[in-house]
Structures are given as structure tokens and as C-alpha cells.
């Protein structure tokens, strides 16, 4: 399949890209890793008249801790996150998620910013970022703003980004010593979207109780979902098995899966329960210093 014709721009700076977006508006699409947009263009399901390629903009790909936050440049490839020593050592939730995104070919090209801006409910980063309590940084004609991840996903493929904004960075709270996280994904085969996946981030305080619990659910609703009720059941409690089990049941009740080729809704709901329980156990174990 051959895409429909389009006009191609490769700006060298973010302001240039914003200017192009403002000029061409809804007829334009930003190109980052291209592993969601290009397949749609090949099928001609998407036929944007203008492509604004972000890959020639320097300084949008980085992983660094500063000022108490972890900063991820929007053009950082999934594989760069997967192989980062810093991420492996201190951010197990991100390391787990990066490892299970699609296949190596996609991971070498696809970007974290592109994935979030695409806002596919089956995107693994969406659920992981909800669990991590991330913020998204957007640059538009009026300057820079940060968008909390909770208000970011507005619908299937719909985000809080304005048509003339470019997502430039993702910020996460810097990992504390007693933080733990995990991301578990059930898939029919390697490279597929999740039947269901669950991300967990938490802290264990000095008394061994759970704090700052985040639970994100992937591909079990029209958008990436936060299991808020499940998190509340854990906050301020010791992570005993009965507490984890109740939280896992709450997460299953909070998700909103559809019957489709990956299975009936009831089955997916139960898989959310199982994955949440396992992810919570693993996150707690890691927070206590285990692997």
C-alpha cells in the first residue's frame, strides 16, 4: 500500500514545528517514530495533507534526573528507555513497560512522546504514566505548560493537547529509595497489543505502609484508565495479601473492557484482577529491596 500524497516539513526547532502546526492546523500531523501513524497512512485510513517530522529537532531525546524529577525527552525511543542503566536501576515500572512494548523493530523507532500523544488505549505508556503519576510538557504559540497525566487522555486517540501544541517532555517524580513499581502485560503473542496490562507504582514508608499508590490499566477501556478506588484501598495500609487481593478486585471492578478478538469482557476483567495482584506483590517486593 502507498500513502496518499502529502507535503513534508522537517523543522529544526520546536518553535518552528509549533509555527507549522499553527499554520496547517487539523490537516497536519506530527511524525515522531511513525510506528502508529505510518501504518494508518499506508492503509489510507489516515491521509494528512502535511507531515511535520520532529526527528531533525535536536535535544528532544534524553533521560535524566534533575531538580527532583525524572525527565524524558519526547523523542526518546522505547529501546533507549529499555536499555537505560538509570531506568533499570531505579525505575522498574518503566523498565518493565519498555521491555514489553510491541517488538524490537518498533521499540527501536517508536517514541514515548509519540505514543502518549497518539493516545491509543492499548498503548503501554499511558497506563505506566498513570501509575507513575507523570506530567506531560507541551509547547504551543503561547509558551510552555504542564498537563497532569490524569487530565491528559480525553478519549480514544484524543488528548488535552491543543491542535497547535507539541509534546516535548514527560516528567515523573524522582525515584525514592523505598519506591517500587511493576508493569505486567498479558498478550496473545509477542508484539501484540495487550489483552490486559497493569502498571503499579508505590512507596513504602518507614512504618511499612503503602503511600503514593498509582495503578494504571491498559486496553481495558476507551482510554488508559486509572484504578483510583484500588489505590485508595491500599493507601496508608500495610501490603498484606488480603489488602492486595481487595485492591485487585477493586481494579477489576473499575475497568471497562469490551468483547473483542482478544476475548470476552468478563475474562479481561478477571485478568485485570490477576495482573493487578501480581503487579502489586512485585512492586512491594521491589520497594523492600528485592528484585
Amino acid at each position: 500500500m502507498i500513502p496518499a500524497s502529502f507535503e513534508y516539513f522537517s523543522p529544526r526547532t520546536v518553535p518552528e514545528a509549533v509555527h507549522l502546526l499553527a499554520r496547517y492546523g487539523p490537516e497536519a500531523k506530527l511524525l515522531a517514530g511513525g510506528h502508529s501513524l505510518v501504518p494508518l497512512m499506508k492503509l489510507r485510513l489516515a491521509a494528512p495533507r502535511y507531515i511535520i517530522d520532529l526527528n531533525r529537532i535536536d535535544g528532544l531525546s534524553y533521560i535524566r534526573e534533575e531538580d527532583g524529577v525524572l525527565r524524558l525527552g519526547a523523542l526518546t525511543r522505547h529501546a533507549e528507555i529499555e536499555h537505560s542503566e538509570l531506568i533499570r536501576a531505579r525505575y522498574p515500572l518503566l523498565a518493565d513497560a519498555a521491555r514489553v512494548i510491541s517488538d524490537p523493530l518498533v521499540r527501536n523507532m517508536g517514541t514515548i512522546g509519540g505514543s502518549l500523544a497518539h493516545a491509543d488505549p492499548a498503548g503501554d505508556w499511558g497506563a505506566a504514566m498513570l501509575a507513575a503519576g507523570a506530567e506531560v510538557v507541551a509547547v504551543g504559540p503561547g509558551g510552555t505548560r504542564t498537563i497532569p497525566i490524569d487530565g491528559f487522555f480525553e478519549g480514544t486517540f484524543v488528548t488535552a493537547l491543543r491542535p497547535d501544541e507539541v509534546l516535548t517532555e514527560i516528567r515523573l517524580p524522582r525515584a525514592a529509595k523505598d519506591a517500587g513499581g511493576a508493569y505486567l502485560k498479558l498478550e496473545r503473542k509477542v508484539g501484540d497489543f495487550a489483552i490486559a496490562a497493569v502498571g503499579v507504582g508505590l512507596l513504602l514508608d518507614g512504618g511499612g505502609t503503602c503511600q503514593q499508590v498509582g495503578i494504571g490499566l491498559c486496553n481495558v477501556g476507551p482510554i488508559s484508565l486509572r484504578a483510583a478506588q484500588a489505590s485508595r484501598l491500599l493507601s496508608g495500609r500495610k501490603p498484606e495479601e488480603s489488602v492486595l487481593a481487595r485492591a485487585a478486585e477493586a481494579a477489576a471492578a473499575e475497568c471497562d473492557p469490551a468483547d473483542d478478538l482478544r476475548g470476552p469482557a468478563d475474562y479481561k476483567r478477571d485478568m485485570v484482577r490477576v495482573l493487578t495482584l501480581r503487579a502489586l506483590r512485585l512492586a512491594v517486593q521491589r520497594a523492600r529491596g528485592g528484585a
Binding site: 487539523p26 500531523k29 502508529s36 501513524l37 494508518l40 492503509l43 489510507r44 485510513l45 489516515a46 491521509a47 494528512p48 497518539h118 493516545a119 491509543d120 488505549p121 492499548a122 478519549g155 480514544t156 486517540f157 484524543v158 497489543f193 486496553n219 477501556g221 476507551p222 482510554i223 469490551a258 468483547d259 473483542d260 478478538l261 482478544r262
Partner: protein, 145 residues
């Protein structure tokens, strides 16, 4: 593919029934409607332009109200198609009045074919609910303040 849901309007049932049967309201409230032309009683030809993220399509089709029991129930049939694929759907709206408010229960069943079905199958349910929600919100905006 099945879709169902509810929407609550802050107005009595007769009022909502009238809105849902007014072609001008339907044309304004249905997401993406470019034209809605009456073809006979309770039968319309429609051209709809829908963008679901990067997937934009123009669809031509017909909408018919096949059964009516004013002011509580109506059955709809939608048929249409465009480059991304075709849709044949039936739906039912049930209006229940509760303390001066109206709860609309909607259920629908659709057969979708073509590219959109093979590529977007996993997304259709969520998108359909999203579109239904936008439609009812727009109908609510038609209520006098």
C-alpha cells in the same frame, strides 16, 4: 459489536422526545454531520465526516426510525459506508422519566466491515460510546436554559 449506555437529561420526557424527533436538532447534534436530508417520513440521507484521531473518513448513508412508541421508545436503523468501511447498525432508545429528569437507555448492535473492522476492531466499541456521549451532550445543549 454491541454498544450500550445511559444518559440523563435534566428535562421531562416529552421535551426530550420532541428533540430526538426534530431533524434540525439531529443534524446539529450528531457528530460530524455535513448534510441531513429528509427522504420521507422518519427517513434521512446523511453525509457524515468523522475524525477518530488520525483516521478521518467521510461516510454516506441513511438513517431511519423504524419503530416509534412516543414518548418512550424508538428503534433506529443506520446504514452507510465510506473508504474506511461500511456499517449496518440497529439501535433502540428507551426514555424513562424520573423526578422530572429523563434517563435515556441506548443499546445498539452493528456489523462493521472493511479496513476499519480489520484494523480498528478493538477500538470500535469505545469510539461508538464516545460518539453517543457527544451526541446526547449536544442534544442537551438544545434545551432552553
Amino acid at each position: 459489536m454491541k454498544v450500550e449506555g445511559t444518559y440523563t437529561f435534566p428535562a421531562p420526557r416529552e421535551r426530550i422526545w420532541a428533540l430526538l424527533n426534530d431533524p434540525a436538532v439531529l443534524a446539529r447534534a450528531t457528530p460530524g454531520v455535513k448534510t441531513l436530508t429528509p427522504q420521507g417520513p422518519d427517513h434521512y440521507a446523511a453525509r457524515i465526516e468523522l475524525a477518530v484521531g488520525p483516521v478521518r473518513g467521510v461516510y454516506d448513508g441513511t438513517v431511519s426510525i423504524t419503530e416509534k412508541a412516543p414518548p418512550e421508545r424508538m428503534t433506529l436503523r443506520v446504514e452507510g459506508g465510506g473508504r474506511p468501511g461500511t456499517i449496518r447498525a440497529t439501535g433502540e432508545l428507551r426514555l424513562v422519566e424520573q423526578d422530572g429528569r429523563t434517563v435515556v437507555h441506548y443499546t445498539g448492535e452493528a456489523q462493521i466491515t472493511g479496513l476499519i473492522a480489520s484494523v480498528g476492531h478493538r477500538l470500535i466499541g469505545g469510539v461508538a460510546r464516545q460518539i453517543a456521549g457527544e451526541f446526547f451532550k449536544a442534544v442537551e445543549r438544545e434545551l432552553p436554559r
